[in-house]
Symmetry: C2
Subunit: 220 residues, 2 copies
């Protein structure tokens, strides 16, 4: 199996056994810190920050303590420092190239999403089987024939493959991506992928999400 | 504030204090049961079902027990019965009309998603401010001028509003929707909405999701 050469960050903090619940909160923290930074806030108290983010100050402190802290008691947090530290923890200070398999509306929506760019993600190619889509560009990113996948992945450092495919196609394409060396899959197909344990999968199951909302409407 | 007339299901099970973790698993169970049903499976043992769904048999049984059970010890589950019971719990046996605010790629992707239709959701209108989009149709669903929101919501039973808007626009549009009587918001904007506590919000924060994956890549 080809080596994807993910590159080690020499000074990264050794983080292990951090609970998924903590990890899920980090992007929110990063998002709020980014907003504060853009609004010119230099320093903020733990209480004010946690109020804005709708978590308790103690939970926020505990979450940060998993990574070494970053605040001085009584002085609050330096927003810019904390923002960049959080970005480093999230791997956003490195280049994260993404390819999208499936160039329909959803694939195009992802390619058009400027939030990704401003957070260190680059969408570098879309792939499809549909001849009407192949050759077009979305915000300057080309839609390639899916037969080009192998050579494209060989020639580019691809960190993440997003799957915006029907559920009937997604499992076989995911297996092919893994064979080609992809280690991280962002799966939008409404199906659970059975891939080797070392492959990282993040599911966005839209139908599950809307059903959760429906449940709450009907059982409130 | 207008009454949205959600309609009470007279024989619905009285479910309270069910943990969000359980609720999150229900759509997956429903999805797997639907696949079994379409594959002609009539009856399945608790062990086989849980194996396929990648949960323990005891967790599955416990989750179901929150709603009254549905299996007979030693006989396994009747797939069709369990599928429909699960659908009823999720509110999918009633009509769930959705409107989408924001008819860009993401809004169109949602309108094009046939998974929603086959699970009892109907997208009945898209809304936008962009004159180039207003008047077009997506799978037969019209894109209306956002100024039509008020009369549209008055004339239709709308259960859910999906927000596929930039984060600068989403909060004010969400407040307007609540004023117009909408109780459930499916929010795709990368911002947390501050709405009254009785308003149900389900967030799909795509940037948070990709950051979680990035975290795992860089800290594996």
């Amino acid at each position: 199996m080809p080596d994807n050469n993910h590159g080690n960050h020499s000074d990264r903090i050794n983080v292990k056994n951090i609970s998924p619940a903590v990890i899920k909160r980090l992007p929110r923290y990063y998002r709020y810190l980014g907003d504060l930074l853009r609004n010119g806030v230099v320093r903020i108290s733990s209480n004010e920050l946690s109020n804005r983010m709708n978590v308790t100050a103690s939970q926020f402190r505990q979450d940060l303590n998993n990574f070494g802290g970053f605040g001085q008691q009584g002085y609050g947090y330096n927003v810019e420092f904390l923002y960049h530290e959080m970005g480093r923890i999230l791997g956003l200070e490195e280049k994260n190239n993404i390819i999208i398999i499936g160039a329909g509306n959803l694939g195009q929506a992802l390619a058009n999403n400027q939030e990704f760019d401003s957070n260190g993600f680059s969408i570098i190619g879309l792939f499809d089987v549909n001849p009407r889509l192949i050759g077009m560009t979305v915000r300057g990113v080309e839609v390639y024939d899916i037969d080009m996948l192998e050579s494209f992945i060989r020639d580019h450092e691809v960190k993440i493959a997003a799957l915006t495919l029907p559920k009937t196609k997604a499992p076989q394409v995911a297996e092919r991506l893994v064979e080609l060396g992809i280690r991280a899959i962002w799966n939008f197909a409404p199906v659970d992928l059975n891939l080797p344990e070392d492959i990282m999968i993040e599911n966005v199951h839209l139908t599950d999400s809307i059903m959760t909302l429906s449940y709450r409407i009907h059982n409130q």
